[in-house]
Symmetry: C2
Subunit: 254 residues, 2 copies
């Protein structure tokens, strides 16, 4: 007997930012797998089981969830944000790719969620209003020289850059180095947004020009957005500045 596997995202943490279809999946599932703090965001019934695991156990967690689904359970794997952006959907696909053939028969339903950069962007204006790229700064996942190359290529080609996993206890210097590198390519006034816990009660959003941008503003719950040469700041009295990247670039047809 084969069950079902949902992979969902809670959004950045404000329960109002979950979609209806993800709520329905939570209501249908019997067994929940995820990093503890993400599971804590759900209001589960007493008959629903929690299997909390540590932040860095993605592949084991995916395999456990697939085993349970293969045994007939209705399982829900829970990510923060969107499950497809540096999160559990890739771990589940990887486990299926390398796992027993029967896992390919599981009814797999991945549901999109609000990923951090969209929530941070909405709180500041429209910094992602034109071409952008999304980079994980974790050199646990890839060699640091590849990260540097991607940062430089993106900045030189005029992309706005959203950085996930900017900093952690084990990775204290990488964000500072990334900002240094970007200072070689981008104007000193380029806006840098440190968007922490967007939409949550402990939200803290700070905008600094690249020349003063301080990696110390970021923690593990922060998404950093670095503007392009086109990105603009609109001052408002008694309100935070608006940051946006215009839709048009000179030379377009209209």
């Amino acid at each position: 007997m084969t069950g079902k596997l949902f992979v969902i995202g809670t959004g950045p943490g404000n329960p109002e930012q979950m979609t209806q279809e993800s709520r329905a999946a939570v209501s249908e599932a019997t067994d929940f797998y995820g990093y503890g703090p993400y599971l804590d965001r759900l209001e589960l019934r007493p008959d629903q089981r929690r299997q909390a695991s540590d932040n860095r156990q993605e592949l084991d967690r995916a395999s456990d969830a697939l085993k349970a689904a293969a045994d007939g359970a209705i399982v829900c794997v829970v990510s923060g944000g969107d499950p497809g952006v540096f999160a559990m959907a890739a771990a589940v696909c990887e486990a299926i790719d390398n796992g027993p053939a029967c896992w390919r028969d599981i009814d797999l339903v991945i549901l999109p969620g609000i990923t951090a950069m969209l929530a941070v962007a909405a709180r500041t204006g429209a910094p992602l209003g034109h071409d952008f790229c999304t980079i994980s700064l974790s050199d646990n996942l890839k060699p640091w020289n590849i990260i540097e190359n991607r940062l430089q290529s993106a900045a030189m080609a005029g992309f706005v850059i959203a950085l996930y996993n900017p900093i952690s206890k084990a990775r204290p210097w990488q964000l500072g180095r990334a900002l240094e590198l970007l200072r070689l390519t981008l104007p000193p006034t380029t806006p840098v947004i440190f968007g922490r816990a967007a939409g949550r009660p402990d939200e803290r959003i700070t905008v600094q020009p690249l020349q003063d941008a301080d990696a110390g503003m970021a923690d593990m719950a922060t998404c950093v957005i670095i503007g392009s040469e086109e990105t603009r700041v609109v001052a408002r009295t008694g309100k935070p500045d608006l940051v946006y990247t215009p839709r048009f670039l000179e030379g377009g047809k209209r």
Copy 2:
């Protein structure tokens, strides 16, 4: 008297993919501004007013909405997808930037939504599971040579690429040219996803290797995702292939 301006996204079109906070904004607002087909996705009450406008009237629409809010109305500007990704949030910020000073006092609330690439990614696996970039293929918005440079930089640096606005009656050749260009850099087997109307009844998701990828698969409602060299395809019997980009790249610390 100054009113309020919400800027929301409906998600790609499945009403179940709207967030709770966007639904609450729809319920609170009195005056709705947007492209007609996006307004049609909302179930408005008889006392709520619709101001539908054409797809290419973004700046006029933003100005009209800001005027109404400055006059005291509770206004909702409606995008498809996420309002911050090639959509109305940037147009509203631009109108504020260039408009009368009093528009800066308006209570502006931008709410994130599910943008097309996240919905398409969820339907196919996890193609955006590692670094990616997001490019509008519209050369109404910027010169074509900049688009070519961005495509090439992104492919060479190993980013997965999500393309918005891939094709239209007035822009028939651009997607074909983009695919040709990417064939010069990426392996012929690189998966290309044509994700049309994800989550809607008329959804059509197709995966083709880059060597055979046919721009004719795309229309205005399509988001195209082009894998990187790392992106993998997992065949499943009686189910669509899974496409994912692994979280790890060789050379990472673990």
